[in-house]
Symmetry: C5
Subunit: 354 residues, 5 copies
């Protein structure tokens, strides 16, 4: 009873029906919990039993409940219900074709955005959706599949590094979001490197592969922009949010993410502008090369075509061709030919075609 | 007395004159009604007699009156009058060349937008106009022709699935609008698939058909954008609307549509950007191919033209051509020819033309 | 004393000096008046005597004073003075190179915009300027030349059709503006048809005429946009205007025009986007064709150039050419030639050049 | 002690140091004064002695002090000090590389913008900077060089035409600004004519000169836009300005300039859009022409290459070539040749290459 | 213990961990201090001992503390702590991949932006990050490496020129920012010169180097824009800032910088527009040249190919070729050839290909 359906099938379904829209990326849905507090207390475990989660809400400890894999709809639903999450919101979590957005409810804030990663094989950017629901003492994260990205954060929690144990759930939510946004820097860097690699090739010796790289580059830039743009609005709001479970002193952290988002948007914009000009350079470069080819052909043809004509003339078998009998006819022809070829060479030299 | 006229004929007519502007897509105007309430009551029938509709307004049940076919102007007018719809608004309903918009009146809200569908034969997007007028207990929908799109919704009403019987006319209006907007996802998906299909062809072997596909693709994207853009404003307003016949708890549903509209706008924008680059790729790819062709021609000509010249020389009939009498003249010529051809081949190899 | 001058001559003139800027499109300035009221009263006449107009203001009837031809500056001035029109405004009326705008004065509202029409001969869009000054009981319209556009409106007034007699001068002003804006629909339709006509030609067989059509199309689209854009602001303001001589119930009519303006702007934008891609398609298509041409040339040359070389070899007159004496030399040559040509044909077939 | 320096040298200088940034366009700085009042009084003189200017401020007459040439820094400074102009503002006046702007001070308003003029020789737009400082009874104008533009205005003052003597310094400032903005109309007209001249050439027979004209045209359009754009904000503010030395009844004049600025911006935008497409048309046209050239080459080669091959065959000297002895061999060859050439001609005719 | 790490390594680190992100551009971190007051007091020294800085805060003198080199994290941190700078802000100072921004704290204002400079060798724009923290009596500047840019300012402080000694720390901060922004004028000038240099080459004789210059130019323009754009917002805010350590009379100076920023943005925009058209001109010019080449080839081939065919005909060895025996056969052939060649030349002359 875990319907994995695509958007096309979903159409016409009643709104609020809980169905998973997207690809099934893991085999089983997995729930892992990290619990810690301002002291040194720390606990970390995995569970199959959603009921267990209810206990979490009894304490004041911060709990990070991470759900990986969304196709087992009923598990996601149950987790949501434990934390009092609205049904429409659970529907959004299950639908991995969501526009990045933030929504504010009385007891929690909902963030959904895309983790960008590179499918190395096809050199294609792919996106995973991550949903963050955080309230006073809990942070729920829903991912499509496991990601190594959050390991350093987990280590910091385990080893009680930095502010993380001191700060509340809002800070944890920030830390998760920060990692996702930082990932965009890496993607931008990767795309920037691709551009630089192509640029040299582009002017020197553009090939069909260059063309494919440019095509891929443009698609990747557009994917990244599409995922990044809505973050601007999300964090612009979060940096000023008034909420009883977001500490005001943490606003500065959300402002920090906002700055990073702006910076990334600027960078992608610049890259897009560079990439946009690449096909024109390709064409220019290609047209340059064609000019070279044509010039060679024209030079060769133009020099030899008249010469061949003259020799052809004296290959004719007319009975009366006085030149054929001349003593110096043959050498003269060579002289004429060389003069013609020579003056043409001079002409082409002057034109800069040689 | 059912004037089917085009915009051109209409010009100069008095405003408020009720005329149908658009294509006649069905033979007869058809009125069907679905009536239901919070209990399990449900009735569904078709009628020719507009007078019958007046009874509907007596009860508190929700009534969905669906009018298909707009060319029988007087029927549309009568339906409108039963529900107290303003004359100018009836004129808008009849004019299928309307910009998508919403208008708020005291007793009802008017929405008009486009249903997108694909004319498979010509691979061209087409639009049908749908007008929705909803008040406290009724939803009027006016369509140009029957559409299978709303069948699932009808089934939900018939079978009393989900919230639909519990919620009022506003929710029904939402459900109708939701289906129309969901259709845009499918269109976006179709266009996205077309792009992917063309892209491979584009780099490998662009033909005249590729060109036609790109042309069609661009037109379809523009049609979709034109239909979609105004929805942004419509649902941005509806999600906050204060009205005595829109339940506040339903705002969240209109916000949901608004999110979908934004998502679709983003997607179409991305597709447009991809499509925009396609002609440049076509040109680049085509220019690449021409370079190949020209290189082959140039290599062949450049190698053989001088050789042919030399053979031509010794085909001349001058009486005094000492070389002709040489014992090794003929083999020598072959040697010279092979040396010339060979060194040229090396030269072209180095240039990367072979 | 009717100075017809151009902008260039006007420069440096004192502001407020009344001069006609623009082309003289009619021979004589003509004044025609239509007078009607809520009853069935209706009078229509032409006059040369501006003084006569003063009487008009005595009654409560609605008067439409239409002035055709602006080069007789003193007539326009006198008409203006009768209705208390400010001097600067008369200057604007006389200057046909005006940006469309609306201005509100205490006793009247001034609208100026462009009537678009098609100069069929050159397939070029042209503009006429129309100024509308309307107050409580009068509507003044100033046109550069007679236009058949307003005939249907005149007929409605004469025959007392629809609301026109019941409504006041504001409604008449609306009716005039409505006709002008409706004309933009026709122009958009014409341009849209031109685009469709060119598109087929474009992919199949682009010629120099196609190029000229595209060029003209772009210019026409830009002219239309330039005339249309400012209307957006004008009617956006008018639909909410608070004035003692604009009936609030007529706001809805100005909103209607506003919707039409937005719709036309959308349409022109879409057309512009389509047209923008046309030159790229032209280039692509042309490049396609060149590829075909070049392929044929290359195939022919590449096949025959080596063959001709071989025959040329055996046309040489060396004394010692053993092959010439071979019994099967000549047939062998044919065999060799056919093998070479055949294998090249196979090669080109595989490359898809044939 | 009149430092004429460029921006590069200025960098790092203390702000407020008075230096002239720009080209020296006249030999000597020249001060001319026009003094007039509501009566018929009028005086006009030139002076070297800045001290003389102080007397001007004693009367209620309107004084127009025109300073031509900015490189004599100390003169400009002294003039400024007489009228109480702030040091930073004098710095701005001296720096001719200023962005057009307006600034409001307690006792005067400062306007700075560009006079556009055409350097006929290079067909290049050039800019002069004009600074206007106007207060209750004075208008200071600072120009880089003399301009004939203001002659008609001077004549109107001298001859007491129009409102000028009746109105105050604010009206004079308006009149000066009006002339500068009117000049933009002429420039737009000039650029529009250039475009039309190029367009015909473009489709028919594009040459390298066409290319240069387009290049120049684009630069000129950009210069004009750069100078014009900031005027939008300047006059948008001035038309509503509340100041004790700007008469409210003169707002309408500044609004008039504002309208002209908007009109010019629209026109330049349209021209830019037209110009933007020109290079694409150039390319299309050029590619068209190349197609023609290539088709001719291909037709000629394709027809004669096989024919030449056949004749070449029968030019061979094999001992055993039976065809050579045939009685009808030679005529037969002609027949074969003509058939081949004919069928090829038919083929090319059908392809539309001839 | 001075970690020089890149963004990639930083990801996942705890926020607030102080690490240097960027290139190490100097060997040692260097601290230099300039101290001056309204009198003539002036002191200037360098130090290794951060503790010394604490004394600075005791006096009312203005202190400019300049830190060059950011890789010695602990020094930067200590300097920050002396002046009470927030940890997150120190993190920003250390991260040289920062988007230009300003932040306002209770006791100081933080500005960070880019110094543009030209790497002459690669003709590439590079950026250094400069952070300015200024409070009531101090200005801290953090640079990545020494820059000669600030020497003139230092000289003015040393020699007590202009207002600098009289004004406070806010004025000093302004002076530093002013120099940075002035540098953008020089960069714009450099880029403008590059464009002019390329333009001539572009129309006359475009080469592969031209292509590379255009490519580089576009990248530089984009870098400059990316660094410049955010300054718009920064100085727009600063010109109106209400703060107890920014003197209101200094607002005018920040407005001055704001004007310069706008001016530079305009200039870069114009340059970008010019540069954007360059590749199209390149292509047009290149296509022009190819046309020339092709025309020559076609003219030569088209003239000689038929001639060669005729001579080839009479080179055949058929036994019965009556023409060969004609007395005037040979001269006749010449006549025919000359007539053919001549009429073709006339034809090409008319076509304008010669």
């Amino acid at each position: 009873m875990s319907p994995v359906i695509t958007r096309a099938v979903k159409q016409g379904q009643q709104p609020g029906a809980l169905v998973h829209v997207g690809e099934k990326k893991v085999d089983f849905t997995e729930i892992s919990i990290m619990e810690y507090n301002r002291g040194h207390d720390f606990r970390e475990w995995q569970t199959d039993d959603v009921a267990e989660l209810a206990e979490i809400l009894q304490t004041d400890d911060v709990n990070w409940v991470n759900v990986i894999g969304l196709h087992q709809v009923e598990i996601v639903e149950q987790v949501g219900h434990v934390f009092g999450v609205h049904d429409l919101l659970i529907e959004d979590i299950l639908n991995t074709d969501q526009r990045p957005k933030s929504e504010r409810y009385d007891n929690y804030i909902y963030l959904v955005f895309k983790i960008l990663y590179l499918d190395e094989e096809n050199e294609k950017l792919k996106t995973d959706q991550i949903s963050i629901v955080f309230g006073d003492t809990f942070v729920l994260t829903f991912q499509e599949q496991k990601s190594a990205l959050f390991e350093p954060l987990r280590r910091r929690i385990r080893q009680n590094q930095g502010r993380i144990h001191q700060a509340g759930a809002d800070y944890l939510a920030y830390a998760v979001a920060d990692i996702v946004v930082d990932q965009y820097f890496l993607i931008a860097e990767y795309l920037s490197n691709t551009i630089e690699a192509v640029e040299d090739e582009l002017v020197e010796e553009p090939t069909r592969e260059t063309l494919q790289t440019i095509l891929r580059l443009n698609r990747n830039l557009l994917s990244a922009q599409k995922a990044l743009w809505p973050l601007r609005q999300i964090f612009s709001e979060l940096q000023h949010i008034e909420s009883n479970f977001v500490d005001k002193s943490n606003h500065i952290y959300f402002r920090d993410i906002y700055d990073h988002v702006l910076h990334n948007i600027d960078t992608l914009e610049t890259l897009r502008n560079i990439a946009a000009g690449m096909l024109d350079i390709y064409l220019s470069s290609s047209s340059n090369k064609m000019n070279e080819v044509m010039q060679l052909l024209t030079v060769m043809s133009t020099i030899f075509i008249p010469l061949t004509f003259f020799t052809s003339v004296y290959g004719m078998n007319f009975n009366y061709m006085p030149e054929l009998a001349w003593r110096w006819g043959y050498p003269l022809l060579w002289v004429v030919n060389i003069v013609i070829a020579g003056s043409m060479l001079v002409y082409f030299k002057r034109k800069g075609w040689l």
